[in-house]
């Protein structure tokens, strides 16, 4: 699903590389935690997968495509296969829950009949049935993140990128969100999630990739947040 082959990413303003000769592979259907201190290269890693950046050296493969050789007009096609969730939800405040989810389909030109069918379905998957007509500011943080997950998942992507999705949520709410991501993973979607939340990582016991200073310092299946075993 994802292959990093000796990937180095240098930013013009920084001397130290954000990623340094990183090589790793993530299989289809995996659930991967990406951990490490701030500035360790987690965001760069995710941005490279989304083709928001290009590697300085090395190559990134996603869904069988070398992103370095992907022409500009094909980038949208790639992103349609990837769902994205952020710490700050990124919902449109002037649209309702259903409209926020439908927006993702409207802007890629899906027909109205299709949207009418799949939006209620995905809202049910994330547990927001009955709240379709609410606006984001009428929802709790956990509910807002569920809307964002619904929007990321409505296209049934092969890959879900979650950038600290529980970073703004209290522990109890976070557990709910993790259950939802786990469920999505069981439906066949590969999930890559960056996080600082040690409790979640320890509890889920999934593959953990740890970065530090742009280097891969740990890649452990069924791992925990810290080094303690």
């Amino acid at each position: 699903m994802i292959l990093f082959d000796r990937v180095t990413k240098l930013y013009a303003s920084q001397q130290r590389p954000a990623l340094d000769e990183l090589s790793l592979e993530i299989e289809k259907g995996e659930f991967v935690f990406l951990v490490g201190p701030s500035g360790s290269g987690k965001s760069t890693f995710l941005r490279l997968i989304l083709r928001e950046e290009l590697p300085t050296r090395g190559s990134v493969w996603v869904a069988g495509k070398d992103l370095g050789k992907l022409s500009n007009w094909k980038i949208p096609t790639l992103r349609r296969q990837i769902g994205t969730v952020f710490q700050d939800f990124r919902l449109l405040p002037n649209k309702t829950v259903a409209e926020n989810v439908a927006f993702a389909l409207e802007v890629i030109g899906k027909p109205k009949s299709h949207i009418k069918k799949v939006v209620p379905e995905v809202l049910e998957v994330v547990g927001l049935e009955g709240k379709e007509q609410r606006r984001p500011d009428e929802l709790s943080g956990g509910e807002q993140q569920r809307v964002a997950i619904a929007r990321a998942f409505v296209n049934r992507p092969m890959l879900l990128i979650a950038d600290e999705p529980t970073g703004n949520l209290d522990p109890a709410t976070s557990v709910g969100i993790m259950k939802l991501l786990d469920r999505i993973n069981r439906l066949g979607t590969t999930v890559v999630m960056s996080t600082h939340d040690s409790a979640i990582v320890d509890q889920m016991r999934r593959r953990v990739i740890e970065l530090e200073g742009g280097l891969l310092v740990r890649d452990q299946s069924r791992g925990v947040y810290g080094y303690a075993r």
């Binding site: 989304l50 500009n72 007009w73 980038i75 949208p76 096609t77 790639l78 992103r79 349609r80 296969q81 990837i82 994205t84 990124r90 449109l92 927006f103 993702a104 409207e106 802007v107 890629i108 030109g109 899906k110 027909p111 109205k112 929007r151 990321a152 296209n155």
Partner: protein, 302 residues
């Protein structure tokens, strides 16, 4: 492609950005209106040139009793001199198209007719006006040929080209047209800058939407289309206003005021308006397109 969705995005964007949209419409209207007006003045000058150059003549005034130029030192023109001049003029065909001799009596009659309401007629006697040859040239710009052949010749007081008088007038009009065109170009540049800035503001105020669109894999075309349509709509509305004002200019100012008061000359017809109007529309759309192209490339990349 979801037309209703794109249309509602465009509507929302323009409402949110209403003052800027209005500013674009008005600037486009004013600059294109000025551009059109300057083209109309040029069409007017060329219409008048066609009209007047057809009528202008070179006048060769012959020496009379009171003439004091050196070439007239021999006194009034003699019959032999006059016949020689006529023969020489005939030999200049085909540059010379036609020759008409105007006697002193005819000159006086014409003078009386021209100034019939003025007391000046009473002070001028028939003998005071010179006899002349009125020469029509096949090509009015070949005046020099006639002038060099006849000016200063004994018996000829003065060779006079009416075209020179007209040219001063046309130069004045041409200058006005040039000024209008320069102002129009400056305004058009301002328009482009304003459109660029308007789109920047629009792109900024919709950055949430566009960032989400990028993430979920909307194509560039889909992301940029609402902005392009907004710019095109504003530019189109401005161009239509400008064309409307051009039509008004032609109908009210030219046909309503100028043409009835200056019946001695020709004015631009509707055919000129018909050629200028599409030019204005194309210029407007092109400018908006140009501005949009550069802005979108800079601010709305994938």
């Amino acid at each position: 492609m979801r037309i209703t969705f794109v249309a509602s995005e465009v509507g929302n964007g323009m409402r949110r950005n209403l003052t800027m949209t209005l500013a674009v419409i008005i600037t486009v209207a004013v600059s294109l209106g000025l551009f059109g007006a300057s083209l109309l003045v040029r069409a007017q000058v060329s219409t008048m040139k066609d009209f007047w150059y057809d009528k202008v003549e070179v006048s060769i005034f012959l020496c009379g009793k009171g003439s004091d130029t050196p070439s007239c030192s021999g006194g009034p023109v003699t019959v032999a001199q006059r016949d020689q001049i006529k023969a020489d003029l005939e030999s200049l065909k085909p540059i010379v198209e036609s020759i008409y001799y105007e006697s002193q009596a005819e000159a006086y009659d014409r003078f009386k007719e021209q100034f019939k309401n003025s007391p000046i007629v009473d002070n001028v006697s028939a003998g005071a006006l010179p006899e002349s040859f009125r020469v029509k040239l096949s090509d009015p710009t070949k005046y020099d040929v006639v002038a060099s052949a006849f000016a200063g010749r004994p018996g000829i007081e003065q060779v006079n080209d009416q075209r020179q008088i007209l040219d001063k007038f046309f130069r004045l009009l041409g200058g006005l047209q040039l000024i209008a065109l320069l102002i129009a170009i400056a305004m058009l540049i301002v328009t482009v800058l304003l459109i660029v800035n308007t789109m920047r503001v629009a792109a900024f105020s919709r950055r949430r939407e566009t960032s989400i669109m990028r993430l979920v894999g909307a194509s560039n075309f889909y992301i940029q289309l609402p902005f392009l349509l907004e710019a095109a709509f504003a530019a189109g509305a401005g161009a239509l206003l400008a064309i409307g004002s051009l039509v008004l200019m032609k109908a009210v100012v030219v046909d309503g005021v100028l043409a009835p008061s200056f019946q001695f000359t020709a004015f631009v017809g509707w055919d000129a308006v018909l050629t200028i109007a599409p030019l204005m529309l194309i210029t407007g759309v092109l400018l908006a397109g140009l501005a949009a192209f550069f802005t979108l490339r800079k601010y709305l990349r994938v």
